[in-house]
Amino acid sequence: MADLAHGKPDQRGLSHAAGADSHGVGTRRDFLTIAGNALAVVGAACVAWPLIDSMNPAQDTLAAGAPVDIDISKLQPGQQIVVLWRSRPIFVVNRTPDLLQTLQQPQDLALLSDPNSEVLQQPGYAKNWNRSLQPQYLVLVGICTHLGCIPSFMPQANSVGPGWIGGYFCPCHGSRYDLSGRVYSGVPAPYNLPVPPYRFLNPTTIRIGENPPNEADFSLDSVVQI
């Protein structure tokens, strides 16, 4: 309306397109409109943020994600225990020398999708043939990289089918992993099972959620796929 009073009816609705003004300069009203609207947007964002952020994990939820210590002194050879860390199942396996041997046979490695753990699914200190700090003890996040199911521990040979050398079998959609959590080719799961950050406090205690002191920092959030 004010523009009409200035005798420039074509300026209606172009109040924030200051360049359209015949004099090439915006009016004082244009400036106030832009500034006012910009402030309103900032204000709306400030109001929205506490609402949005309240849905992020609360402090007690985060605190419950602190590192956990596991006593492995009673973990028998060939046995697996499952503990919860950050609401996720963590597999800890005491691998026998026989089982470890299956992890290095070339004919078995040829069946794997990522035998050398090239994809970032583990800390640097577990990027080796046994995907662990000490070959005897395997530590994995037990969540299938396909759609989040929990793979079953099947260490016995031929327990899933003929030629099975022991490993993990996901009951949901049939994904298969070896006893280092490395995924086989031709199954729905795309990646190896993730290895969480962990370290040995002493030979019989593992702390999940903390990196070894002399190793590069690794966060489970950085893996490609949980």
Partner: protein
Amino acid sequence: MAGTPSTVRTNNKLVRWIDRRLPLFSFAQDAMIDYPEPRNLNYWWNFGSLAGLMLVIMIVTGVFLAMQYTPDSNLAFNSVERVMRDVNYGWLLRYIHMNGASFFFIVVYIHIFRGMYYGSYKEPRELLWMLGVVILLLMMATAFFGYVLPWGQMSFWGATVITNLFSVIPVVGKTVLTWLLGGYAVGGPTLARFFSLHYLLPFVIVGVVGLHLIALRQHGSNNPLGIAVKGPQDELPFHPYYTIKDLFGLGVFLIIYALFVFEMPNVLGDAANYIPANPLQTPPEIVPEWYLLPFYAILRSVPDILFIPSKLAGAICLAGSILILFLLPWLDTSRVRSAYFRPIYKWVFWLIVIDVFALGTVGAHRPEGWYIVIGRIATLYYFFHFLILLPFIGWFERPLPLPESISAAVTRKNGVPVGAAPAEPR
């Protein structure tokens, strides 16, 4: 201001006094009694009002169920069992609500296919159709949140699988997922917010249904002939003609609905949801409720496409399969609305119906053997139908001649339609 003149026909002084100040009675008179509808609507036009009724049933039973439910991951499962065993008529409320979700989707899917057969989405009803797709999306979200609440095995693992889809978003996927879940994985905070949203969204649906109805009244209902109403001779007042037709359809519908509620209340559900949620044990197979199976099949059927991994491609196709409906008014290039006059489309329509049923079947089975092949073909055909078939058929199809008017086509003199176009198909 003189106000709108009252249209209510009554001598009741109180009614007239109120209506002059708050025109509720006039509104009811206009919307439900005098409201003109095309005179040739068939029974496929019952499903809009049935969907409205299902929304009311779901909200009413849901409000009472919420009085007994506890959204806590340690207590939720038992609170639902308490509803079933201890709360007076709790079993009835829950079975009406549980099966109501299925029947709501049955009614809405028929309503959608009705719109597709008779071209109800075409000019000038594009926004009416798009608001309907928004309602469908809101219904899917509401149903998903609701299915999580009993905190059974299928609740928990279904929530895990579906929320995991968000992790495929590039860069921010994991942050978004953690934000959605309120923790590192599906758990107590997730359940509490899903309950809140499950209570909120139905009222959002009510709002969008309001917009849907405003858009509907702007140009009135489409009709089986798909031609515009040309005058009062083409119309009938809503009452008594369509109130009675809707009520009869409602009776038939309620008989079928009641059969499920009282005789086979768990047939449409999954037995695994009567096992409490266990984050350390996956059920043998994770399947969503039947009404989401076609979309679940699309998610799982997509293989790796070039450099896009199967998981991301599947999620994109899943989203695309619903979002493509928004574009339907422009993808269908034919200017003739009703399949009645479209000799090719009337067959192609049934192919997409069969295709959706095939996808539903594939979604209910493990992706093995033939199911993978059928799933991929059906997924491909789904997009082929919307993106290629529909635009092309509109160009080369020669529609049958349209009748002059609705009344000419449906009013018969000596058994012959008055003014009917020659060779009108049966």
